[in-house]
């Protein structure tokens, strides 16, 4: 079974440069003698790509307690409330942490992506990755850290994916109408809105207009 191979983090290894600031990647980087880099900038802000995988990342500060944000995210079906191109997430089988993500593509089709939780640290980190049975090769992780003072929680989302090639055809790069960078940024902003205000901002004047906009954003 795939989750019996905890050391398998292919993109993190490949993306050693881009993810230098991540704990898991740091180990790989260290082996490659990069521990001398004193820079504090997060790896995903690096001005170069990370091998075969593309890495997008973004941080926001959310004025809510860390435990609350973690609990909301850990309930994966909640993600479709703010991830625009996600139709729904549902548990797959009886194994905990195993989900099927239904992701909308440009043509309006929905693709199923099977994911397993790769690592979790209560209240701090959730990482997931697509299983070998999926048509899409992707991994994601979200981390939660206390922000200074009364500022709440710093939430960082990092998604790595393999750009479209060969058999995968319309893999993640083409999945959404927006670029994955933009999509991740917008998704995280909507997460912040939902957590801080209980709703997601819209300029729609009527419910019908709102419905139309929501569909167009997908």
């Amino acid at each position: 079974m795939r989750h019996d191979h905890p050391a398998r983090w292919p993109w993190l290894a490949l993306a050693g440069v881009g993810l230098a600031a991540l704990p898991l990647a740091a180990a790989a980087a260290k082996r490659r003698g990069r521990e001398a880099d004193p820079d504090s900038a997060p790896g995903h802000t690096a001005r170069r790509s990370s091998g075969e995988y593309r890495v997008v990342g973004r941080s926001v500060t959310i004025a809510r307690p860390r435990a609350e944000l973690y609990a909301f995210w850990r309930e994966f079906p909640n993600l479709s409330q703010f991830m625009a191109n996600l139709e729904k997430v549902e548990p797959a089988g009886s194994e905990p942490g195993h989900h099927t993500w239904h992701i909308r593509t440009i043509a309006g089709q929905v693709r199923a992506v099977d994911t397993r939780i790769a690592r979790e640290v209560d209240g701090e980190l959730i990482a997931w990755r697509s299983t070998g049975d999926s048509e899409v090769d992707t991994e994601g992780r979200v981390t939660f850290a206390d922000a200074p003072g009364e500022r709440g929680t710093r939430v960082s989302l990092i998604i790595a994916y393999k750009p479209a090639a060969g058999a995968v055809g319309d893999a993640l790069a083409n999945l959404a109408r927006q670029s994955p960078e933009l999509q991740a940024r917008h998704d995280l902003k909507r997460f912040k809105m939902l957590m801080e205000t209980g709703e997601i901002a819209t300029a729609a004047r009527t419910r019908a207009e709102h419905q139309r906009e929501t569909e167009e954003a997908r």
Partner: protein, 391 residues
């Protein structure tokens, strides 16, 4: 319902559009009883603000009666409220430190990209002010959907009529914050560029804050007269050299604080305007910032520069050296309306502030297009236009 819509540069018209509805739980629907045309609406009218779309409903200064509330609104039907022009959630980092106009959650995420690229950070949502600030329908209409109605709108007592409180929505707090940003002390001499509504309210606010001397600068005789009636001294820049006049009037020290209430549409203040106009025409968004440049040269070393005037792009030949070598402080920004509304309402109730002197024209909403034309072209006599829907 009927609403004033933007149709293109210098083209606005009242059209019939769908009534707004409650979309989010914290929304309320307001039936507008009074709404004003703002100087900054003229930037939209003139087509110098990007991301406008034909059919956009304008207006960010409005008040009215609550007619519908979402499940999480704290307003009640029948309440009379004034609505701040900036939309603020009350719960984000910036709202919590009362920097409401920097709210992180009111501009829809997909609308934030443009200002984030231009300015490094996204702008908050604003009613009726282009898609860069959310594309929210404005208040020059019979009804408005008001998001976060539990945070922004302020209830007003029945004994104050609309015209006494309408300007709490923007220009009164904007003039007040301009004076606040100028850090005014009791012995100060303060110079205000521009005697439009914000400039006049800045004059009034500076005097209320105890400034010893306030000097108002403009070239419209009627507007200068209004400033004098408030207690200001005046300088007409068509007939006097402004910097020299200010030096003399401040006894050779220079003024302690300057307020640029003109913004990017500054005309007539200096020769480099022509160059700036040319650039604006070809669309690279160079702001004409002559009033600000002049203000920076006029203020004394160690003085304060406050900029309530609206700028959107870049400017060149900015006197950065004067700013640094004279050790100036510069403060600016869209108004944190919610921070000031309650206190200012109190001052209106106590009779310490009157804002109605500004209103020169009252029109039914149906004549809004005419109001824009006149407000744009006859600035001396058309100081402020109040529109009454259903009137």
């Amino acid at each position: 319902m009927r609403a004033l819509t933007w149709q293109g540069t210098k083209k606005v018209s009242v059209e019939t559009v769908a009534d707004p509805e409650i979309v989010n739980p914290r929304d309320a629907i307001i039936r507008v009883t009074a709404t004003a045309i703002c100087g900054s609406d003229l930037h939209l009218y003139d087509g110098v603000i990007p991301s406008m779309q034909a059919g956009d409903i304008l207006g960010h200064e409005f008040m009215g009666e609550v007619v519908e509330t979402g499940s999480d609104s704290t307003l009640t039907k029948g309440q009379r409220v004034v609505v701040p022009f900036t939309i603020s959630c009350g719960g984000c980092f910036h709202c919590r430190i009362t920097q409401f106009s920097a709210c992180e959650n009111s501009n829809p995420s997909e609308k934030q990209d443009m200002s984030e690229q231009l300015y490094g950070h996204p702008m908050a949502g604003i009613f009726g002010y282009s898609h860069m600030t959310g594309g929210f329908a404005g208040g020059q209409a019979e009804y408005v959907r008001v998001p976060f109605s539990d945070v922004g709108p302020i209830a007003v007592p029945d004994h104050l009529d609309d015209e006494q409180v309408l300007f709490l929505s923007d220009i009164l707090p904007t003039g007040w914050m301009a004076a606040d940003n100028a850090g005014i002390g009791p012995d100060d001499t303060v110079a205000v560029w521009g005697c439009g509504p914000v400039g006049l309210f800045a004059v009034q606010s500076a005097l209320a804050m105890g400034a010893a001397q306030v000097i108002a600068i403009d070239h419209y005789p009627h507007r200068l007269e209004l400033a004098r009636q408030l207690g200001a001294e005046t300088v007409n820049f068509h007939t006097s050299d402004v910097r020299e006049a200010l030096m003399e009037m401040s006894g050779g020290i220079g003024v302690d604080a300057v307020i640029d209430a003109v913004g990017m549409e500054a005309h007539g203040f200096a020769i480099d305007n022509m160059l700036d106009i040319a650039k604006q025409t070809i669309g690279i968004g160079a702001d004409r910032a002559s009033a600000l440049k002049q203000a920076i040269l006029a203020v004394r070393p160690g003085g304060r520069v406050s900029v309530p005037g609206v700028y959107g792009g870049m400017t060149d030949k900015f006197p950065l050296g004067a700013l640094m070598e004279k050790g100036l402080q510069l403060r600016t920004g869209q108004t944190h309306v919610q921070r000031y509304m309650k206190d200012l309402l109190g001052m209106i109730e106590e009779g310490k502030l009157d804002t109605t002197f500004l209103i020169s024209h009252r029109l039914p909403l149906e004549q809004a297009a005419e109001g824009y034309r006149q407000f744009r072209n006859a600035q001396d006599s058309w100081t402020k236009v109040v529109l009454k829907p259903g009137g």
